[in-house]
């Protein structure tokens, strides 16, 4: 599987966050997680990128797909949410943020190839996770996305339980990302975690050697 190429991938290939992203609700907030690898073809152009992007104080989104498209959508929605929250005079709802992302994804669905998972906390609905793939909007108890997510569908289906608390959710997210990184060539590096609850958002970075390891045959 060796390819003959006279120039490295980062010159000609599109930059993608082929990735693993996950978000999960618990009673009182959400936990978001992602890996940190950005690839252009076979080259890793950034091994420490934080794919958990702030949309508002207590609303984050996780980026996957084309890096440029995803970052642009996140920046646009960040701006639109700031304006919106000034207009309504209070913190925006997570559903509003997700709708703004969905509107852009749907309107430009032919041109864009990015999938954002929106998650956060608001006082009306508590912790919420929304998927906006291809322009649909759907609330789910948890969501996985990115190229690495295929490998962990079985694991999350088996391990998810309703009513997990904050620490269980964090462990679940770290385990899932760790498993996906070990199988997906486009995911790797470190794991970023963001826990959002009533008090605010807490960011955490777990280095590669501190990630859980599983049976390696």
């Amino acid at each position: 599987m060796l390819q003959e190429s006279s120039e490295p991938g980062w010159i000609s290939e599109e930059v993608k966050t082929g990735t693993t992203i996950i978000a999960i609700e618990f009673d009182g907030g959400v936990v978001l997680g992602s890996d940190s690898r950005v690839s252009a073809g076979e080259t890793v152009v950034n091994r420490v990128m934080n794919k958990l992007s702030l949309l508002h104080d207590k609303i984050y989104c996780a980026l996957s797909g084309s890096a440029a498209d995803a970052q642009t959508i996140a920046e646009m929605v960040n701006y639109q949410l700031d304006v919106h929250s000034i207009e309504i005079g209070e913190d925006p709802q997570v559903r509003s943020a997700a709708t703004l992302v969905k509107n852009i994804s749907y309107k430009y669905k032919e041109e864009l190839s990015a999938h954002l998972i929106v998650a956060g906390w608001d006082k009306r609905g508590g912790g919420q996770v929304y998927v906006t793939l291809n322009g649909l909007l759907s609330r789910q108890p948890f969501a996985v996305g990115g190229s690495g997510s295929s490998y962990v569908y079985g694991f999350v289906d088996a391990e998810y339980r309703k009513g997990m608390n904050k620490e269980d959710c964090q462990q679940f997210v770290v385990n899932t990302i760790s498993l996906a990184m070990s199988r997906d060539g486009s995911s790797g590096g470190v794991a970023y975690l963001v826990t959002i609850d009533e008090k605010g958002a807490e960011e955490k970075c777990i280095l590669g050697n501190e990630l859980p390891t599983f049976y390696d045959h």
């Binding site: 190229s147 079985g154 694991f155 498993l179 070990s182 049976y215």
Partner: protein
Amino acid sequence: MERKYMESQIKGVSTGTTILAVTFNGGVVIGSDSRASMGGNYVCSKTINKLIQVHDRIFCCIAGSLADAQAVTKMAKFQISLHSIQMDSPPLVKAAASILKELCYNNKEELQAGFITAGWDKKRGPQVYTVALGGMLLSMPFTIGGSGSTYIYGYTDAKYKPDMTKEECLQFATNALALAMGRDNVSGGVAHLVVITEEGVEHVVIPGDKLPKFHDE
């Protein structure tokens, strides 16, 4: 989400499938789903058996083009019997796997089928070999294959332990198959499991409604 679906490029009937084989303390469990599909849309058979017995204690599971797989296993069965008569003893699992590998490698341009060979022999006990598409042969403690296997890499990496008991192993294999069938649209039907030990061969069939259910079902 750009994923290459190998099975959809196969003309005719394919076993878009989930197959696995797992060693435990004293034997091996080999399992598969039972769906045969054409073009990813039409299910030709809901109850096909993908576990082919090539010798008393050696089984083979097939993935990929059904026609190719059946032709290869028929040829392999004949060659393994001949080999066993010449050696005047039951064949080694490695020998059976090698015979399959030779057939796959020498005809790699025309064939599109992958195999898992598993069984028990007196020299090395329970063994699992995977013969990949181009003819690579690898021995492993457990292995998964077919289109549905993508979704359970995370689960099997997390849950496999060496030296399980027979019951634990059956539970592990059943769960893995159920999870893959739940996510892969070209895997489904019933779960076929075969337990091979020194004493003999035991066939277990688990109908779809008796498979373990997970959180969203």
